[in-house]
């Protein structure tokens, strides 16, 4: 059995900032990630991020990932475990971790869960054919491993992820035949949409996929136009010549560990699915278990980083660590989070956040 003060599950932007801020207050930290690298989703985000200067807007996710991981690796009171999967949480507060085919048990005083999200999928005939991928998988293939998933792609979903992954496919020299979106409006920022459209990709709103074609792999897709009531309009079916169908229909929090730990959960569509209730310190209904990032509600990396800082500070502070600037730092993070969630594009998140507060 290993003992530590703070264990952090997930080394994405939320986990990295949580580790850093807990360690800077003085806590002894173990950061665990199942990948062989740190950075989570950021490792494949080659595009510039939106946001404000404070939250590193205009920088590329890949660069933020590299910088945060380097910092974390250089802080002596953080022990990093990669290729290590947290399999379970036991009621006596023990985490069960698998690393190099060995089982390790860790007993932390505090836990920050920052496991991120998982991709949602879509029901249609033949959606199990090779060639049907999640957008995240395609992004990993192209941007992490340098592998082209195919030659002609149909992207399903015109949210930020669908549009950005389409852009990255174009950058990799892959044709994107169309982006389809069932809703009447593009969900992605319009500037992103405009940039793929001028590069030659049509965006078809009020369209959905009817089926994938092919025997052993995808060789086409049929799409159809939808009316105001989201019903297919007869006679508008169109067969597209594609060998990849890329689904980008949203993320859902990866919350198994929270369920296992018995955290009170609530279904909030605005935040992507089941999320834990939490107090203003980001502590769940199980004392000592904190959440940060997409697992607490699907948002952006900037929000994940802010939440990570907050959870890390709070977890360490609850162990008695403090600093002259602690209160100020906490206030600052909360202010920044509020700013991020302001405005009309933050409306959905604000609505979601109203439903998750504990007590």
């Amino acid at each position: 059995m290993k003992y530590t003060e703070v264990a952090i599950v997930g080394g994405g932007p939320a986990g990295l900032t949580a580790a850093m801020s807990a360690a800077k207050l003085g806590a002894e930290v173990i950061l665990i990630d199942r990948n062989d690298y740190l950075g989570g989703q950021l490792i494949k985000q080659t595009h510039r991020f939106f946001g404000s200067k404070q939250q590193r807007a205009s920088e590329r996710g890949i660069d933020i990932a590299r910088e945060l991981s380097d910092q974390v690796m250089n802080i002596p009171n953080i022990q990093v475990m990669t290729e290590a999967t947290v399999l379970g949480y036991y009621e006596d507060g023990v985490l069960l971790v698998e690393q190099n085919k060995k089982i390790i048990t860790i007993h932390p005083k505090r836990i920050v869960i920052s496991t991120g999200g998982a991709e949602k999928t879509l029901l249609f005939p033949n959606n199990d054919l090779p060639g049907v991928y999640g957008a995240g998988a395609v992004q990993t293939l192209v941007n992490v491993y340098g592998v082209k998933p195919g030659k002609k792609v149909l992207m399903v979903g015109a949210g930020n992820i669908g549009v950005i992954v389409s852009y990255q496919l174009l950058q990799a020299g892959i044709e994107v035949v169309a982006i389809i979106e069932a809703a009447p409006k593009i969900g992605a920022y319009w500037v992103h949409a405009a940039k793929v459209v001028r590069a030659g990709v049509p965006i078809l709103t009020r369209h959905t996929i009817v089926k994938a074609h092919g025997e052993r792999e995808v060789n086409g897709a049929t799409v159809v136009r939808l009316d105001e009531n989201w019903q297919p309009i007869t006679g508008t079916q169109k067969k597209l010549d594609v060998d990849v169908i890329c689904l980008s229909v949203g993320l859902t929090p990866l919350s198994e560990l929270l369920w296992q730990a018995g955290c009170k959960m609530v279904y909030v569509p605005e935040l992507g699915g089941n999320v834990p209730l939490r107090n203003e310190h980001l502590e769940t209904s199980v004392p000592g278990i904190y959440v940060a990032g997409d697992v607490a509600g699907i948002e952006e990396a900037s929000a994940a980083m802010m939440e990570g800082s907050l959870a890390g500070l709070e977890a360490a502070a609850s162990l008695g660590y403090t600093s002259e600037t602690l209160q100020e730092n906490l206030r600052d993070v909360l202010e920044q989070l509020k700013g991020l969630r302001s405005g009309s594009v933050g409306e959905k998140i604000r609505k979601g956040m109203e439903q998750v507060s504990l007590g």
Binding site: A57, V191, A199, S342
Partner: protein, 164 residues
């Protein structure tokens, strides 16, 4: 319409264009950013103070055209690649359009490329006049295209010949 198909239309652009007199004086930026989104690097990166201060991060950029010298610094910091610089004074028949570009191959100076409009359609030919690709631009290249003057408010992308 833009929210339905992602195509920026002349009516959208009309609201953000510099006046004719300003266009006639030389290079000037046009921010084709039409949605209130939490984003402000354009404002922070203009050393001329030509982008009006954002009261709130969701504000849209407002360029003070008389202060803008068309330097293009804002272009390569914009995550939306939504800012372009046009220079109507390049020659009698041609104008320069500066395009933010993140594809390969990067064209050479004097190369002829296919000029593309906001809907992704080819609208003619353009000649590459300059390629800016410094370290601060961080992999967002700025390509200066010479285009027929009447196309300067239409060309917003280009394709290198022989590349799909």
């Amino acid at each position: 319409m833009l929210p339905q198909d992602g195509i920026v239309r002349p009516e959208d652009v009309a609201s953000v264009l510099p006046p004719e007199e300003r266009l006639a004086q030389g290079p000037v930026a046009i921010a084709e950013c039409f949605q209130n989104i939490p984003c402000d690097p354009c404002y922070h990166n203009c050393k001329q103070g030509a982008i009006q201060e954002f009261k709130e991060i969701n504000d849209r950029p407002q360029i003070i055209f008389d202060k803008c010298n068309g330097c293009g610094t804002c272009m390569s910091r914009c995550p939306g690649l939504a800012i372009f610089v046009v220079d109507a004074t390049f020659s009698d028949s041609e104008a320069i359009v500066k395009i933010p570009y993140e594809f390969l191959p990067i064209p050479d100076v004097n190369e002829t490329v296919t000029a593309i409009n906001r809907a992704g359609q080819a609208v003619g030919e353009a000649r590459v006049v300059r390629v800016q690709n410094t370290k601060v631009q961080d992999r967002t290249v700025i390509v200066w295209l010479a285009v027929p003057k009447e196309l300067m408010l239409e060309v917003r992308h280009f394709k290198v010949r022989g590349v799909q």
